[in-house]
Symmetry: C2
Subunit: 230 residues, 2 copies
Amino acid sequence: MPKLDESLLSDLPPFSQLERSQIRTILDQAVSRRYDEGTAIFREGHEADRFYLLLDGYLRVIRSTEGGEEIIVLHISPGQLFGIAKALERDTYPATSIAAAESIALSWPMSLWTEFTTYPGFATESYKTLGRRLGEIQTTLTEMATQAVEKRVACAVLRMMNQSGRRTEGGVEIGFPITRQNISDMTGTTLHTVSRLLSAWEKDGVVASRRKRIVVTKPHELVLLSGVQG
Amino acid sequence: MPKLDESLLSDLPPFSQLERSQIRTILDQAVSRRYDEGTAIFREGHEADRFYLLLDGYLRVIRSTEGGEEIIVLHISPGQLFGIAKALERDTYPATSIAAAESIALSWPMSLWTEFTTYPGFATESYKTLGRRLGEIQTTLTEMATQAVEKRVACAVLRMMNQSGRRTEGGVEIGFPITRQNISDMTGTTLHTVSRLLSAWEKDGVVASRRKRIVVTKPHELVLLSGVQG
DNA sequence: CGAACCTTTGACACAAATCAAGTCACGTGG
DNA sequence: CCACGTGACTTGATTTGTGTCAAAGGTTCG
């Protein structure tokens, strides 16, 4: 395996306070791997033997019910740590991570976790990340409990747009492949309902979509649909 | 204020590894306060200036929408730390805490947090607590997204029973006052629907309820209603 | 004794799930 | 390169679980 370049980590918050030599050490301990779209990085309930950093791509964090349904808890963007079960003193992963697009991640054995927490800024950033995720999940829960389906779907699309959107001709495109089924798994509804909503929005020119791709053409309109109170 | 007794803390996980003298120091820095039912201990978004330990009673952790609706995210039982925003590097509380029953809590200024994390076992227990709560919220989210109302309500009642239930004549009683409205705020439904469900269950002898009190008379039946897969 | 609040129950409406077809896009292999 | 198969998407018809509206009864407490 070729040596990984130090610039991969030097600008990321968990490592930004470290010396070049420390980053070198960290990289030399890392395993880099590519994951095809749809591949699981790790699964809920399995022994948490490694922790990860997403370099490129996007992940879905999902939980499944005994009934076989699955729901998408959140998405993870490049630069984020994930699978850091040890930060919460867990020895199994609390959810499953799936590559939503082709992705590249570094990973380290969990036995190095304690050592990593001694690097200045690393622990702090890990806990900040967890704090943000907890907040995000709470927000999703609140939406789920109080908002009608159309608003939930609008919120979900906006959230993905904000986390992964890139400007393109005539709108902001969600940065990873996403199906109607995926959106229904985020919002607790059915692919049929999501399809109807997106069709209606497309008719109104708020979004444009092709297979597995969504472009938000009028973000502001979508914000209105999401029902933010004035 | 009378001196607090060391036995208050010595058996609680966050402090169980400490010397008598350390517990003494911790108690001498603590403020003890009683909260009437319905009182807020702290509110979402406010500056997180203190952290807490619930000695007695029960709390509801709630989030409110701009629309004024509120949902109950989880309950906190005696012996648990709460308001530990600093553990996630936050400087505001992420949710509001309300006394569900008359409660007593100790609190310390957040400036002591760093010092507390040096006590053996304290940080570990704090993160375990957060991990459990994250798991619980994820479970609630999953239920909310996939289960019909009846199952959600059954799950919510069972969860409260498990966390706070006490054996009484002919059943297990939820350990704090709880209204239909409260349950609907936990499950994202209406007090009417909850009332209908509880009435039906009462007719079937699964629960018995008086004003603000619920006794689960046939826990096993309720588990079946909650739809655990076989 | 009255006010405040919790609870129950019925009637009705409607949003969204379910049921059901069918079209369209894409990748693969012959 | 075309045919085929699979997965994604759309759209209509029908059903139903829950929310909404409405009214009244019960309990607690000052």
